[in-house]
């Protein structure tokens, strides 16, 4: 799986926003918009997949071809299956 370090969880929480869109250029994929939302938990919406962080105590949490992972420095990574 290919992983991309999209944002820092503490920095996103410090913004105090309910949602934020990160406009990024992913190596090998090009320009992408990644929506991060905060409700009961922080979640990443990428390519129409909704990926809550550490959902069901699973880290990384994968759904379909996409996954989300929080490392020990609380950086949030978005993962994409290599053949996607």
């Amino acid at each position: 799986m290919d992983w991309y370090n999209v944002f820092s969880k503490p920095e996103f929480e410090a913004l105090g926003l309910v949602s934020n869109t990160y406009e990024v250029f992913l190596e090998g994929l090009g320009n992408k918009d990644i929506l991060v939302t905060k409700g009961n938990t922080i979640a990443v919406q990428f390519e129409d997949e909704f990926l809550p962080l550490e959902f069901a105590d699973r880290n990384p949490y994968q759904r379909g071809d996409y996954a989300v992972y929080v490392d020990e420095d609380e950086n949030v990574w978005v993962g994409i299956e290599e053949d996607t």
């Binding site: 290919d2 406009e23 990024v24 190596e27």
Partner: protein, 186 residues
């Protein structure tokens, strides 16, 4: 307007290939060739009643995309905006036998053929409505069956005008391959 008399539309087409320097006085070069290469050959059309053209109405429309970002504490949301388009629409009618109608239709067709290469620009001056080096956004011509007039609608876009832009916030993210980014580390 020029001299406050008549509205004017100016079509500009860059000249290719490079033309030789023109000299007004032997030995003294002019900057005409550079101007024509960069700004294009200006072709003005005076929208004068004496030429059979009458402006019926003008309107300006600006489309803006506003994206508010709500805050958890219900405070003032952050707002980001970007301009989608800025279009001026000129509605006018022309007598069918007017030579200006023929010229105008020909210039619009010429501009249409250069849309992809962007080798054209349209300038419009009429009082407070001023567009320099705009883009052709639309054109319609309707011919009435019971009169001698043709009703034209010309749309000029100012979308190519230079605006103040924020710094590029799109970050380049390198790829790390592995079961997790920590185990991968490449």
């Amino acid at each position: 307007m020029l001299g406050g008399i008549d509205p004017i539309i100016i079509f500009s087409f860059p000249l290719k290939p490079k033309i030789p320097t023109l000299t007004a006085v032997p030995g003294l070069p002019t900057v005409v060739d550079t101007f024509l290469q960069e700004s294009g050959l200006p072709i003005p059309i005076y929208l004068s009643k004496s030429l059979g053209i009458q402006i019926e109405s003008e309107n300006t429309a600006i489309d803006i995309d506003t994206e508010p970002k709500a805050k958890e504490d219900g405070g003032t949301p952050e707002v980001s905006q970007r301009g989608l388009n800025s279009v001026v629409t000129i509605n006018f009618f022309v007598e069918k036998n007017s030579i200006i109608l023929t010229v105008l239709l020909g210039l619009v067709d010429m501009a249409f053929s250069k849309l992809v290469s962007r080798e054209y620009s349209v300038t419009y001056l009429n009082g407070p409505i001023v567009i320099f080096s705009g883009l052709l956004h639309g054109f319609t011509a309707n011919q009435g069956s019971d009169d001698t007039l043709m009703r034209l609608s010309l749309q000029i876009s100012k979308a190519n005008q230079k605006t103040t832009e924020p710094d590029d916030t799109r970050f380049y993210l390198p790829r790390v391959t592995g079961a997790t980014p920590i185990l991968g580390g490449s």
